[in-house]
Amino acid sequence: MQNKNFSIGGVIWGKLKKNKLALIGAGVVILLSILALAAPFLTVYSPGEQDIGNRLLAPSAQHLCGTDELGRDIFSRMLYGARVSLSVGFIAVFISTFIGVALGALAGYFGGLLDNIIMRIVDIMLSIPNLYLILMMITFFGPSIFNVMLIIGLTSWMDLARMVRAEFLSLKHREYVLSARVAGASNSRIIFHHILRNALSPVFVSVIFGVGGAILLESGLSFLGLGVQPPDSSWGIILSSGKDYIDKAWWLTFFPGLAIFITVLSYNLLGEGLRDAVDPRLVE
């Protein structure tokens, strides 16, 4: 009967803080979010401001990351672009998590025909190459920030649904769930109060990995011209427009590329640390 202040969060944090790489990842993730939120206060130039006289300037004290072919400040564009990239990441993952958890829970809890239908949809979705599916949907709906969020969300919920279903399948036969049923608990009470609470840690981990993945996907789509459209800037767009000048002005592609790399790496480090931290088998 020790350990009075026990809480799941406390246990996870206790394990997570011993993982240096995950802590660095968490630090970068938080820092990036603050930078994106504070963009107007941290930039001198507005992201769309053109200055043809100062085009393609190398990084200097005036322009930390140089300027592009229209004389726009890359640093400003990147900070504002971070807002787009991060929000696409978060909202896309929010959508996919919502769908994945809802369908996985329904399939796992009720089973039978419903389970069969949902899982066959998952199989079908997984059998179509993801990029192909996304490109098809974007051609159909047209490229825009909103569509990119929606489409990434709609095409990346399947693994989570499978995982949540498996959790529900094993948890619904636990005796505490049975005794809640005998106590007269309704299905929704059992699903939310008893099962979902115990299935949340893997969902949380998958959210963190998902954000990194969605940012990468958004950058790729924007690079291909199928994601966020100019004059909005995202890291993928800056990278894309810089590729024409890659021999003359390396900074146009280097900095956005670095930003994407560091962001996705941080999310993955944090996700991996969390995965180990929530795994009850890895107790030291």
Partner: protein
């Protein structure tokens, strides 16, 4: 005072194994025509080896499983086959205590909340007061209320489960092997607690167990189950004084303090599950006294006097 609180009539339950894509689904009889009655205020012991369908019977009574046929009548009202909505008002009259106290408490929910859940569902007032009183009643310290399940030992957890089952003042409780996963030193404490609470709260128990010593201690009547069938039933004294079915004798002989030395002749036969369902006595393959008749004819439960009923072709 002879109010029959629980009447179980001819319940049958088959489980289908998933056959796979090409394989054939197989049916397994878990419960095959089981009937019994429990009078209000009494304890019926349901004994038998693991896998004989005892737990399934318990689950059917509290409506966690639906029987394929047959019915369960609670306090004069048929409850099997009711929709969950019609059942809900009746649910708080029946409770179940499970075998494994480590699996039966939600690890993320504080004890006070867990015990009070059924009260909350039924919109009872003064939940916290009642839960605290119940915690005291099962002999747990007061600060139990705000703790999490993992902070407790098996015996304490089982006390919590008992508190959770009884806080809503049910009339009837299924105790599904409530002590078989506990340390021997704890078992008698829990048994005594169950006995005391039964007296204090005027409860009726269905006590499922494979431990005959415990059953002898706590039960008024006993039904012996073998392979989904009830093979013998009667008062506790009758069953122990004069066990009639060879399976009951085997069970009693296997308890060291009850029948030491007599067991060899029973144990040397292999268990052959395949023939257990085939048109004869289910115990045929293991029976030391079997006769030709036993292979081809299913024995019915026959009264041998004083309500002592046996399903066996042999006359002792």
């Amino acid at each position: 005072m002879n109010n029959k609180l629980i009447v179980v009539k001819d319940i049958k339950k088959t489980f289908k194994t998933a056959g796979g894509f090409f394989g054939q689904a197989k049916s397994v009889y878990a419960v095959n025509r089981v009937s019994f009655e429990i009078e209000e205020g009494k304890t019926l012991g349901l004994v038998g080896e693991s896998g004989c369908g005892k737990t399934t019977v318990g689950k059917i009574i509290v409506n966690l499983e639906r029987p394929d046929s047959g019915q369960v009548v609670f306090n004069g009202k048929k409850i099997s086959g009711l929709a969950e909505k019609e059942l809900r008002p009746l649910r708080n009259n029946m409770q179940i205590i499970f075998q494994d106290p480590f699996a039966s408490l939600n690890p993320r929910i504080r004890i006070g909340k867990a015990i009070g859940e059924t009260l909350k569902i039924y919109g009872v007032s003064d939940i916290e007061k009642k839960v605290r009183a119940m915690i005291k009643e099962v002999g747990l310290p007061e600060d139990t209320y705000y703790r999490y399940p993992h902070e407790f030992s098996g015996g304490q957890r089982q006390r919590i489960c008992i508190a959770r089952a009884l806080v809503g003042r049910p009339k009837f409780v299924v105790c599904d092997e409530p002590i078989s996963s506990l340390d021997v030193s704890i078992q008698s404490q829990i048994i005594n607690l169950l006995k005391d609470l039964k007296k204090a709260l005027n409860l009726t128990y269905l006590f499922i167990s494979h431990d005959l010593r415990v059953v002898k201690n706590i039960c008024d009547n006993i039904s012996v189950m073998y392979f989904g069938n009830i093979v013998e039933e009667g008062t506790t004294e009758e069953i122990f004084a004069m066990p009639l079915h060879p399976y009951t004798r085997l069970l009693i002989a296997s308890v060291p303090s009850m029948g030491a030395g007599k067991k060899e002749k029973y144990f040397n036969r292999p268990i052959d599950n395949k023939t257990a369902n085939a048109g004869g006595c289910a115990f045929y393959t293991r029976c030391p006294n079997r006769q030709d008749k036993c292979a081809g004819e299913i024995p019915e439960l026959v009264d041998r006097g004083k309500g002592h009923r046996v399903a066996c072709h042999l006359n002792y």
